[in-house]
Every structure is written in structure tokens, then in C-alpha cells.
């Protein structure tokens, strides 16, 4: 996958995070490798549920359990890698 396409997916994921969680930040300010939960964006478990619903509805990607979620939600880069893997582009 080209760098441009990959960055495009990163941007889509950031836009999804900001829109679904109603964050009042510019999606471009989210760092690709920063943690989404805890000290990163400071998201919580309810936000995780919202992202799981959003990924399923908008990307057709399901996160079946917390273990998978822990890995996928590590950062934007990790989430993009997970989406690519499930969609067969990884």
C-alpha cells in the first residue's frame, strides 16, 4: 500500500474517532503513534464501545473481544493496521 493511501486511511480513522466520540479537536492533531487510551487521547471504555460500533458500521470491521481491542486501540497506526488486516490489505 502506498504511503499516500496509508495516510488516507489514517486520516479516515482519525476523522471517525473525532466524529463518533464528539471530540472538540482537529483530527490532524492526533498523533499516529500516540496511545488512544490512558495518557494519550484519554479515552475510556465507553469510548471504546463507541469506536467498536463505529468500526463495524462504517468500515465493516468487527472487534470481537477486549484482547483484540487492546491491541487494535493501542494507537491510530495500530488501528489502521488492524483494519487493513481484516479487510485483507495487510
Amino acid at each position: 500500500m502506498s504511503e499516500t493511501l496509508e495516510q488516507g486511511l489514517n486520516d479516515k480513522v482519525k476523522e471517525l474517532i473525532v466524529r463518533r466520540l464528539k471530540l472538540t479537536i482537529d483530527p490532524n492533531t492526533i498523533k499516529d503513534d500516540a496511545p488512544l487510551f490512558g495518557e494519550g487521547l484519554g479515552l475510556d471504555s465507553i469510548d471504546a464501545l463507541e469506536l467498536v460500533v463505529g468500526l463495524e458500521q462504517e468500515f465493516g470491521v468487527s472487534i470481537p473481544d477486549e484482547d483484540v481491542g487492546r491491541e487494535a486501540f493501542a494507537s491510530v497506526n495500530a488501528l489502521v493496521a488492524y483494519v487493513r488486516k481484516i479487510k485483507g490489505n495487510g
Binding site: I46, A48, L49, V52, V53, E56, G69
Partner: protein, 174 residues
């Protein structure tokens, strides 16, 4: 094959939910698909003004139906009320909490005498969190709809309920 439960009366609901009159807002459950969906029925009476004046308790009514839907798989009851009924107050060793409501739309058209139909369907599960689509219908009108999230947590053992929890008293000539 998993089968649904066609009908559950208030005495069965008593064994699952900790809520009691006047804060139990489900009279019966129909078409229960354990862990997935169910339809709650609430007949609204003239003295339940709290249900008529605010959408908050209509949301609570939907959450109570969601609690029954979730209780079955948690309690290992399978798909039937027959056989061993090891139900305990408040769902045994589990408690469900309404943690989020989202995209609620309320029309306010609820009156005494209305039959409120509470349709709940699981959208997504993640860990101990469950997101439901909820719709309360009177006649052919949706009076409130939205998404509800329930967190289920394991709790310390609660005291067993009375064998036959009393129903609300009936007052003659009221």
C-alpha cells in the same frame, strides 16, 4: 438451536430485576431472545405521572428490558424458564448499570391508558459493555428512541429475595 421465550410475567421479572413498585416499569416481556432482543410491555396508569412528564423514566423502562435480555445468558438460564430457576434478586451475582444514552429523540406523546411497547435489540457487545437500540412505541407512533449502553459487573452475593415477592396492593373503589 436457540429459541426465544414467548412470554414472561411480572413474577418472573421480579426474579431477575431488583426493581420494585413504583420503580419497576415493565409489566411483562414478550418475544425474548436471550442476549439479543426483547419486547417489554408497560401499561401506563393515571397515577404514574412521573412516566408521563419526563423522558428520563421512559429511558429507564427501556434499560430495564435490556437488563432482562442480558440476565439470561449471564445467569446461565439457557432459553427457558423451565427446570432449575436459580434466579436471585438483581440477577444473582451480576448487576447491570445504565452508563450511557445516545441520540435520544422524544416526542412526548404518552398518556394514561397507553400501552407502551419497549423494543430493545442488541447492537454491539464489547467486553462487559452492551449497546442497545431502544424504541418505545404507543400505537403506531415511536414516542422515544435512542441507543442505551449497559455495563454488567460481577457483584458480591446479594441476599435471596422472598420466595413470593408481594405484588403492589390493590385498592378497592379507587
Amino acid at each position: 438451536m436457540s429459541e426465544g421465550i414467548a412470554k414472561m410475567g411480572v413474577q418472573e421479572i421480579y426474579k431477575i430485576l431488583p426493581h420494585r413498585y413504583p420503580f419497576l416499569f415493565v409489566d411483562k416481556i414478550l418475544d425474548l431472545m436471550p442476549g439479543k432482543s426483547g419486547m417489554g410491555i408497560k401499561e401506563i396508569t393515571y397515577n404514574e405521572h412521573m412516566l408521563l412528564s419526563s423522558p428520563v423514566l421512559l429511558i429507564e423502562a427501556m434499560a430495564q428490558v435490556a437488563g432482562v435480555i442480558l440476565a439470561y445468558p449471564l445467569l446461565g438460564l439457557g432459553d427457558s424458564l423451565g427446570g432449575e430457576r436459580g434466579l436471585k434478586r438483581g440477577g444473582g451475582d451480576y448487576a447491570g448499570y445504565l452508563i450511557e444514552v445516545k441520540d435520544i429523540a422524544f416526542s412526548g406523546d404518552v398518556s394514561a391508558g397507553d400501552r407502551l411497547i419497549l423494543n430493545l435489540a442488541l447492537i454491539q457487545k464489547f467486553g462487559n459493555l452492551f449497546r442497545f437500540d431502544g424504541r418505545a412505541i404507543v400505537g403506531d407512533k415511536v414516542v422515544i428512541k435512542g441507543e442505551l449502553s449497559i455495563a454488567v459487573v460481577k457483584t458480591a452475593k446479594s441476599p435471596p429475595p422472598p420466595d413470593n415477592p408481594p405484588l403492589p396492593p390493590f385498592t378497592k373503589g379507587g
